[in-house]
């Protein structure tokens, strides 16, 4: 029974993948329509998966609260705000004044603060990198980052000097020649890796949908 079920899922996944992929290259009506239909199904399923994901999230935190696991007060706050936001959204709609207030005054500031925290985090991580990994690559990375920061940031003094102009040119040279060249090489590798990963799923060699 297990073998049969696995074959059915694999056949469906492979057939859907091949149709969607061919729909991008073969501009014939049946392929285009089938691709669009499968993509619409995928969007619907992804929306349903989001609901399942939220139920799973709630279940994890309910378990933490009921079993008084470490950090359960955080879970209690999450459940409370989750229920409140969900109820407000369901009864009054996502554009309601209170829902928007909660989003603009809780969600957005917290996310913006984390973004701001990133600058501090990276500075500390930069020092940690130099202290921990004392090799040529890390040293080159740190020096390049420092030169780019100096060349990009405004200078309170001597902003008209030749040194500042030179640093700006150096920054541009590093960013447009070395960094762009390196990034293209990395992107090429990433693209090749992504293609083979996709092909493995398409050939049912990797089956993330279970056995």
């Amino acid at each position: 029974v297990k073998l049969g079920a696995y074959l059915i899922w694999a056949a469906f996944a492979v057939a859907s993948g091949v149709i969607v992929l061919l729909g991008y290259f073969v501009r014939l009506e049946p392929f285009i329509s089938l691709r669009l239909m499968l993509m619409r199904w995928a969007v619907l399923l992804a929306a349903a998966a989001l609901v399942i994901g939220l139920i799973n999230l709630l279940s994890v935190h309910l378990t933490k609260v009921s079993e008084q696991e470490p950090g359960w007060p955080y879970s209690a706050v999450l459940i409370l705000l989750f229920s409140l936001t969900l109820a407000l959204g369901l009864f009054f709609g996502p554009d309601n004044r209170v829902v928007l207030f909660l989003f603009n005054n809780l969600q957005l500031p917290v996310e913006s603060s984390l973004m701001a925290l990133l600058a501090i985090t990276l500075t500390i991580a930069g020092f940690r990198l130099v202290a921990r990994r004392r090799d040529v690559i890390s040293l080159t990375f740190a020096i390049t980052a420092l030169l780019v920061i100096i060349g990009t940031s405004p200078w309170p003094l001597a902003s008209d000097s030749q040194v500042h102009v030179g640093m700006t040119y150096l920054r541009t040279w590093i960013a447009q020649v070395w960094a762009a060249g390196g990034a293209r090489g990395i992107l090429l590798g990433v693209a090749l890796g992504a293609i083979t990963t996709g092909l493995r799923v398409l050939m049912a060699a990797d089956r993330p949908y279970g056995e």
């Binding site: 290259f25 470490p70 990433v190 493995r200």
Partner: protein
């Protein structure tokens, strides 16, 4: 069909032919890959976690299954299978988190199938794989609680990350965990190089299955990537030479 469509199909066909060819060839001549220190250290770190009764956390990032950024998360799922098999003897199951509901379901399914395959289906905990939060920074904000309250000692980031990946890695570093991080985004890779002790650069994020599991098709796909890379390099050099000598393309 336009010329570009034919070229696209041709490249795809070439990939499939080379993949099948290398799978057949490598059975007789197993390839030797360069060592990737991050993956070498990961095996030891997972063993230590199992022996110490601690948990392993895999973060699949904030990419969605239906988006163009799903590939690194699928590579993460391949690593998850190895991780689940390695930790199946432990009484502390691994924790997997994702920013996408569908990815969390796939992670849960992968875990379940590994446990069932090993005859330890009763050890599968449906709460092991979970969706943390749907937006990148709220996902990062949810990580410290997971890392701080679930006895985690290995923190892996293999999936689609943006700038929040650096925060996610740093939360692990602050707790002195083993932190391994890889993604497909070039800028996020630079951030992870700084923030994670064991970064994965470029296509290394896709090599986990081959390095950890050693499955034939995973190893063959690495060889195929190298072959196609050589073809692309030759094409770039020939194109540059032709341009230099004034031959129009």
């Amino acid at each position: 069909m336009s010329t570009l469509d034919f070229v696209g199909l041709g490249v795809l066909g070439l990939f499939i032919i080379l993949l099948v060819l290398s799978t057949a060839l490598l059975r007789r001549h197993p390839p030797v890959f360069r060592p990737i220190p991050s993956y070498q250290s990961l095996g030891t770190a997972i063993q230590r976690a199992v022996e110490a009764g601690e948990r392993v956390h895999l973060s699949l990032g904030t990419g969605s299954v239906i988006g163009s950024d799903s590939a690194p998360a699928f590579a993460g799922l391949a690593v998850l299978k190895h991780m689940a098999a390695s930790t199946s003897m432990s009484d502390r199951p691994p924790v997997v988190s994702a920013g996408d509901g569908a990815m969390a379901i796939l992670a849960s399914d992968s875990l379940r199938s590994v446990y069932e395959g090993l005859g330890a289906g009763d050890r599968f905990d449906p709460n092991s794989a979970r969706m943390l939060a749907p937006t990148p920074f709220s996902y990062a904000a949810g990580l410290p609680t997971v890392l701080g309250t679930e006895d985690i000692s290995v923190h892996m980031l293999i999936g689609s990350f943006g700038a929040e990946g650096a925060l996610a890695a740093d939360f692990g570093e602050r707790r002195h965990l083993f932190v391994l991080g890889g993604t497909d985004d070039v800028q996020a890779q630079a951030l992870l190089y700084v923030a994670a002790e064991h970064p994965l650069i470029g296509e290394e994020v896709f090599a986990g299955g081959a390095y950890l599991d050693g499955a034939p098709l995973h190893r063959a796909s690495l060889t195929t990537q190298d072959w196609v890379r050589m073809l692309v390099v030759i094409a770039i050099v020939v194109g540059a030479l032709l341009r230099t000598f004034g031959v129009g393309l």
